[in-house]
């Protein structure tokens, strides 16, 4: 086996040094009744060449671009990723290193993450961002837990227009501690009904997502105001980070914690993971923040360098009193997002974000012209909800046969939205792709 370097001579020589007669004898401390008696029942090993075939055959079953046109976002977005980003991210010094516990030989990772933290702060208008969480869902759950720690209150309110999966993760995380999770309904215009907060007391935090699950841009100023009135923390979640290349950032509204999904920033969709949990807040909450932080410092000779810092918040120091149990995060994905943000830059970001907006507007208009109903009137970024006629399911399945996925049906998440579909459009879809989609729906 090419990954195992030991020759028979090596093994004999080493066993001799250890003072045992065989490899089996090395396990003398494992009691007989703990041993596995039979060999592992696993497939026989494949050669690299056989495995190439096998993996290619599995991958070939998948419906992906450019053959398939998938008009779905809903938390995972098809964006172009420059080859330079993938190539740099494949450098083995980034890929095969551990969490930077020895800063002198980890400055690449450390400076890279420091730059990531900075670019995320600039994107979201926040004062501090951590080195990443697992994904958008756990970032939100951790934000809510952070708010309960700061406020010492046990109740949170979250919008029903937060990604349904994120709300499920929040409930899982908050369930054993018996925190109460209240859901805020939505209005006819596709935004959260913040008036539902009236009468709710003792809230640790109020969380909404913008753009929300229906693609609509929420009123973060109103969130901030409602939260301050109740001495609750305001939390803005998001699934499409690219939106903040165009939209006013959450920080400019004074939101306390911003958390969401960074997959759009140069990370392949990979069937939903690995992706990137983004987490940022105001500086005065720093000691309550979960996750790793990289800080700037100097070495013995006064030279600039970077270290993991404020570790007294973390599990390996504080153990059960830590701000989170997170240890391994999504470091390489954060690095990838930084490389992507550096590549796209100030000039590319706005243009790309506006292009996403315009393409979605184009499709929206074409569907409206074809007499389909755009379900919610609020402005959107690159996703929106369409209400189709009641027999649409047949059309949807016919389009699947034509290698087009015409949105995500919403009824299983919002039973009241029968025949409603969430459509997403990014820069990867051409005008022609959209025209074909509309014609396909019409016929």
């Amino acid at each position: 086996m090419r990954y195992l370097p030991h020759t028979d001579d090596d093994i004999s020589a080493m066993l001799k040094v250890v003072g045992v007669g065989s490899l089996e004898e090395l396990f003398s401390t494992v009691p007989e009744d703990c041993r596995k008696k039979e060999p592992l029942d696993l497939p026989d090993p494949l050669t690299e060449w056989e495995l190439n075939q096998h993996m290619a055959s599995l991958a070939a079953t998948m419906a992906t671009m450019p053959e398939y046109k998938v008009f779905v976002g809903a938390g995972s977005y098809e964006h172009f990723v420059p080859s330079s980003v993938l190539s740099l991210l494949g450098r083995s010094e980034f890929v095969t290193s551990y969490t930077p516990y020895q800063p002198e030989v980890s400055q690449g990772t450390l400076q890279g993450i420091f730059e990531y933290q900075t670019l995320i702060c600039r994107l979201l208008g926040m004062e501090v961002a951590n080195a990443s969480m697992y994904d958008g869902a756990s970032a939100l759950a951790e934000a809510l837990l952070m708010a309960t720690r700061i406020s010492k209150k046990k109740k949170v309110a979250i919008s029903r227009l937060i990604h349904p999966h994120y709300r499920e993760v929040v409930k899982t995380y908050l369930w054993p501690k018996e925190y109460e999770v209240l859901e805020l309904p939505y209005l006819k215009d596709g935004k959260t009904d913040l008036s539902a907060l009236d009468g709710m007391t003792e809230l640790a935090a109020i969380a909404i997502q913008s753009p929300n699950f229906f693609g609509c841009i929420e009123d973060l100023a109103a969130l901030r105001k409602k939260a301050s009135e109740r001495e609750a923390m305001s939390i803005a979640s998001f699934t499409e980070a690219l939106a903040y290349g165009l939209l006013k950032n959450p920080g400019s509204y004074g939101v306390d914690i911003v958390c969401g999904e960074g997959q759009s920033l140069g990370i392949p969709q990979s069937f939903g993971g690995p992706s990137l949990g983004i987490f940022a807040s105001k500086m005065n909450y720093i000691r309550s923040m979960p996750g790793r932080l990289v800080g700037k410092t100097a070495d013995k000779d006064g030279k600039r360098g970077f270290v993991l810092t404020l570790a007294t918040r973390e599990q390996h120091i504080r153990r059960e009193r830590a701000t989170s149990n997170i240890c391994t995060n999504q470091g390489l994905c954060a690095m990838g997002a930084a490389i992507y943000m550096a590549s796209v830059g100030k000039n590319g970001l706005r243009e790309l974000a506006k292009l996403n907006y315009d393409k979605a507007q184009y499709l929206k208009r074409r569907l409206e012209e074809a007499a389909f109903k755009i379900r919610f009137v609020s402005p959107t970024f690159n996703e929106f909800v369409v209400e189709f006629p009641s027999n649409f399911e047949q059309t949807y399945n016919r389009l699947l046969d034509q290698k087009i996925v015409a949105g995500l049906p919403l009824a299983s998440y919002y039973p009241e939205l029968t025949n409603c579909y969430l459509l997403g459009v990014t820069e990867t879809k051409t005008k022609e792709d959209m025209d074909i989609l509309v014609r396909g729906i019409e016929s």
Partner: protein, 485 residues
């Protein structure tokens, strides 16, 4: 004398991203605009984020230089204890990047996603077989999230029987994530002392086990590198009072094909795909922390689960007892691909062989270095061994100094100051990837450093000298945090 591995090389300085570049540069091929520009309510529009303006060449040079300041497994031996820094096969990366996988939307209808679902289904079964457990979830994104998930499964199991318990037993050799994870689940961690052999004694567990204890979280093999020999008896004690046994499987690399966790009383355990199953650590992730359980806990596993009917795969949510979801979608699928590829490349015999060689390597280092460094527990070890700086303290040399000197000599240091039960611990886990020649070089280097500690201690105090930077001021970094530029 043979040349040392570590040397100086030409390493470039590189400013921060925003300290370079020029107005108007862009390193991205802007996609064609084939639709008109539509108006947008100006109140919604913000200023353009202040990102740097760089060409593709600027970006490539920047990150290439940064990468050269890092030490990775591909650079050399990386013996971080309890981290299992084994070789990360190149071919696994290729598979994860196949367009069919990398470009797959998680909401694809199942008929269009059979390949990913089959891979997940098969991987779950492989991991169940390797651990000897009955069912597996791949959803947790890292070991700590696996711990949290596993602890919640225990909470849910007890609660389904109307039982509410407040405490969880955690041995003193535990990873820091262990107490933090049970605490997130609302349990109060109760420490259990390991005995003079560095393992748990049944009497120590019996002493603290009562009807308010939900379970015990045992790392096995533990962080001193020892197999918890009394695990069956401990399991009986815990089960006897209605508690459950959680095994932290971070160190599973020692016992694949050798110990059947499902038969020794373990009810739930997690694995770290980025340790035992060769997926790279990425400078801090992404990892994956699958959780394997016995039958009784299966109804509580996170949803969705992958099910198979007549060769067709789909996702099922039909588990009313489930604790719910722990990930935005199905977990770190890209990491699962690499673990799956590793298992298929290795096959059953080589997986067992990998564990045997990992244990051989650790014992070889232990025997070869126990004269040069204090070995607090001189017993046969599993995948890792723990030394201390006791002998070097006489010369005012600490574990930190030894670690930094190792850097100058071309090796990544071991895990230091952990486990906490050994003062000045140096926890060495060579893994099976290292050849005898490399181990010999490491051993000679460590012995030379032990000599230097006596004869030329300043060499250690001043180390590292060959790295990109010298020792960094961590105190100022924490007192006056500068977290963005």
């Amino acid at each position: 004398m043979k040349e040392k591995l570590g040397t100086t090389g030409l390493v470039m300085n590189e400013p921060l991203l925003w300290e370079r570049g020029g107005n108007g540069r862009c390193g991205f091929s802007i996609p064609r605009r084939d639709v008109e520009s539509f108006p947008i309510n100006e109140d919604l529009v913000g200023p353009v984020p202040d990102f740097p303006e760089l060409s593709e060449v600027d970006v490539v040079r920047h990150y290439t230089r940064l990468s050269q300041w890092n030490y990775g497994v591909d650079t050399g031996m990386y013996p971080l204890g309890s981290c299992t820094m084994k070789y990360n096969p190149k071919v696994n990366e290729k598979y994860a990047n196949l367009p069919g996988f990398a470009g797959a939307h998680p909401f694809l209808p199942p008929s269009m996603a059979q390949g990913t679902l089959k891979l997940m289904y098969d991987l779950e079964h492989f991991l169940s077989e390797i651990t000897g457990m009955d069912a597996t979830t791949l959803q947790p994104a890292a070991g700590a999230q696996g711990e949290l998930t596993g602890t919640m499964l225990i909470y849910a199991f007890l609660r389904s029987k109307g039982i509410h318990r407040s405490k969880f037993l955690i041995p003193d050799t535990a990873h820091g994530t262990n107490p933090a994870s049970v605490s997130l689940c609302g349990f109060h961690p109760v420490p259990v002392k390991s005995n003079e052999d560095g393992i748990l004694g049944p009497e120590a567990v019996a002493e603290v086990m009562d009807e308010d204890v939900a379970g015990i979280l045992v790392t096995n093999p533990n962080t001193l590198g020892f197999f918890e020999e009394n695990i069956r008896e401990i399991s009986e004690i815990v089960h006897g009072k209605g508690g459950l046994v959680y095994c932290d499987g971070a160190n599973m690399n020692a016992v694949m094909g050798i110990v059947e966790m499902g038969k020794i009383g373990v009810d739930v355990m997690h694995l770290n795909l980025h340790k035992t199953f060769s997926t790279p650590h990425g400078g801090g992730g992404p990892g994956a922390g699958p959780v394997c359980v016995k039958k009784g806990l299966e109804p509580f596993l996170p949803v969705p689960r992958v099910v198979q009917e007549e060769g067709t795969y789909r996702l099922s949510y039909d588990y009313p007892g489930s604790i719910g979801r722990v990930h935005s979608f199905y977990g770190n699928f890209g990491v699962m691909i690499k673990a799956y590829s590793y298992i298929l490349s290795m096959g059953p015999d080589n997986l067992k062989k990998a564990s045997q060689l990992a244990v051989l390597n650790a014992n070889y280092i232990k025997e070869s270095l126990k004269a040069a460094f204090n070995l607090p527990y001189d017993r046969p070890c599993m995948h890792e061994c723990v030394f201390s700086d006791k002998q070097q303290n006489v010369h005012k040399i600490t574990t930190l100094d030894v670690a930094k000197r190792l850097i100058d000599c071309g090796f990544h240091p071991p895990t230091i100051y952990f486990p906490l039960v050994v003062a000045g611990a140096m926890m060495v886990e060579p893994t099976e990837s290292e050849s005898k020649e490399t181990l010999d070089e490491f051993i000679e280097t460590c012995k030379a450093i032990a000599n230097e500690a006596e004869e030329d201690p300043d060499l250690l105090h001043e180390a590292p000298k060959n790295a990109k930077v010298r020792r960094l001021d961590e105190v100022t970094a924490a007192r006056q945090p500068c977290l963005m530029g």
